[in-house]
Symmetry: C2
Subunit: 195 residues, 2 copies
C-alpha cells in the first residue's frame, strides 16, 4: 500500500501519524513537489486536485487526508478509531470538517505563508488561528480527546497543524488545555514525531 | 428531531435536501441570524462555532452540515446514501472534504460576498470557483454521480453551492457536464428545490 507523500506536509503527516498509531504498514513514495511532480502524470491522474497525500491500495486510489484516514481505519485500523455507529461517526466527522476547513484556512495557511512563502492573507490566517485555538482550548478543557472520549481519527486529523502552529508564528503558550492534549497525543503508543 | 436552520444558507439546504430525498422528518427551527441568535444561548451552547445548521435529536446534538448528513444517513437514511464499507465511505468522504474546504472557500464565498456583502477576497473566491467547477465538470464527464455510481451524501454536500453559484456571479453555462448532473439531481424523487 503506497502513500504518495511529502515529508513537510501536515496533511501527509496526518496519515503517517495514524498509520503509526494503528500499526498499518505504508510504503512511502516521496513526491518531488518542488519540480511539480504532483501536477504531472501519474500523480495528476491519481488526484486531479494536484494535492498530496494520495493513497494507492492495489487498484483502489483515494485522495484527501481525511478520506484516507476513513479508508485506513475502516479497512485496517479497527473500530477504536472510527466506530460503526452513526453518533460516533458524526462526532468524529465534525472534527474532520473542522480539519478540512477551519484548520486548513488558519493554522495551515499561516504555516504555508511563513515557512513556504505561499501568497495568502497573513492577517486573516492569524485572526482565524486565534479563533480556532480558542475553540479547541475550550473544548479540551472538558474533554481529554476531541470526540467520543478516546483517541480517534478526529485527533489524528486536527493534531498535526496544531502541533506545527509555531512554524507559522502562532504561539501555543496561551492554550494550556491544548498543551495537555498535545502531551496526551505524544504519549500514545506508536506516536510518530511531527516533521 | 430539530434542525436549527437558516432558509438562505446553502449549508442548511444540504441537510434539508438530504432529509427530503431520504424521507426523514425534520422540525425546522428558524434562527434569527440577523440579530445574532446563533452567537447567543441556547445556540452558542449547542454549537460554539456559531454556525448553522445544528441538529438536535433528543439529547444528541451535532453541528457541521457534513457531520449532520453522516448522522442522518447512518441513523435514518440507510446504506444507499452512506454505505458501511471502507471504500464507499472514503470515496464519499473525499467529496465531503471538498464541500467543507474547496467549495466553501470558492462558490460559497463568492455568494457570501455578492448576496450578503460579507468581506472576503472576491478575486480569490472567483479564481477558486473556476478551479472547482473545472474539476467537477471533468469528473462528471465520466461519472453520473460524484461517488460510487449512485446518488449519495457526496452529491447532497456538493450540489447546493454549485446550484446557487449564479447568486455569487459565477456563470455555470460553460460547464455542460455539471448542467446534466444538476438535471439528474433535480429529477431525483423527493428533490427539494433550492432556496
Amino acid at each position: 500500500m503506497k502513500l504518495y507523500d511529502l515529508d513537510v506536509s501536515g496533511n501527509c503527516y496526518k496519515v503517517r501519524l495514524f498509520a503509526s498509531l494503528a500499526r498499518i504498514d505504508l510504503e512511502l513514495v516521496s513526491v518531488d513537489l518542488a519540480n511539480g511532480a504532483h501536477k504531472q502524470p501519474p500523480l495528476s491522474d491519481l488526484n486531479p486536485l494536484g494535492q498530496l497525500p494520495v493513497l494507492e491500495d492495489g487498484p483502489y486510489v483515494v485522495r484527501d487526508s481525511q478520506a484516507i484516514l476513513v479508508y485506513l481505519a475502516g479497512a485496517y485500523g479497527g473500530l477504536a478509531w472510527w466506530p460503526a455507529h452513526p453518533q460516533g461517526q458524526a462526532d468524529i466527522m465534525q472534527w474532520l470538517s473542522f480539519a478540512a476547513n477551519e484548520v486548513q484556512h488558519s493554522l495551515c495557511a499561516a504555516r504555508l505563508i511563513k515557512k513556504f512563502a505561499v501568497e495568502l492573507d497573513r492577517h486573516q490566517a492569524l485572526a482565524r488561528s486565534a479563533v480556532v485555538l480558542a475553540l479547541l482550548d475550550s473544548h479540551l478543557e472538558h474533554n481529554d480527546w476531541l470526540a467520543i472520549g478516546r483517541p480517534t481519527l478526529a485527533d489524528c486529523a486536527v493534531y498535526p497543524y496544531v502541533a506545527l502552529a509555531p512554524e507559522g508564528d502562532v504561539d501555543l503558550k496561551p492554550y494550556r488545555h491544548i498543551a495537555r492534549w498535545i502531551g496526551r497525543m505524544e504519549a500514545l503508543p506508536g506516536y510518530l514525531p511531527k516533521p
